[in-house]
Symmetry: C2
Subunit: 138 residues, 2 copies
Amino acid sequence: MGLSLAQLISLEVKDDARGGLMVAQIGAGLPFVVRRVYWLHGTKPGVARGFHAHKKLRQVCVCLAGSVRVVLFDGQREESVVLKPNHEALYLEPGLWREMHDFSPDCIFMVFADAEYDEADYIRDRQEFIRYRQGGQG
Amino acid sequence: MGLSLAQLISLEVKDDARGGLMVAQIGAGLPFVVRRVYWLHGTKPGVARGFHAHKKLRQVCVCLAGSVRVVLFDGQREESVVLKPNHEALYLEPGLWREMHDFSPDCIFMVFADAEYDEADYIRDRQEFIRYRQGGQG
């Protein structure tokens, strides 16, 4: 059966009477130094995004507002996890196919990555990804 | 007169028909590798935060939703900048007193920092900060 594909990281919650504060840092919720950040906002109704895997890139995703459903696929098993603003972030290890579905209109989806953009690191074809995983890369 | 204390960084806007996507990475909007991230949300009405300076820490701040007014003070001059979701981030170099005021109820304020939390790096007293800057640290 194996472990869940959706590896959730507990973030540090430092809410107080002033309001909410969430933290992640090296050694506490951030498993790598971040060299690239991006965030999705104002995603149009019915739009799904992602549909790729990375060979080496590691990412941590946080839903900062609204909600989104992330589908993960390792070449054999598929899992789905709904992300909302809470104390959890989703760690995406290399070699995972990911899709984001069901964005709420107010969703803000933040991604921290351990490397700059590199098109050569992407696998954008699902069948190619399955072959890549069968090749003993996973 | 000197340069503005509020150093604004242009982020890469990659909006398309699917929705909004903002990016910053090393070499393009991110002036350092990030070792700590935190974000403020659900700030209560009338609350102001910050009221400290850092000796060494560098930060990049982004307003992801709502709005907030950031007050910067270098020991002599004070400036105020209103941040909203747009293509700009605010770079905070070391040795700047900062305060955040006028959070909108929906404000999400994200901070990327180049080092882990270190209480010894904080100056939390405004008079001490003025003396620190007068001591030739700035």
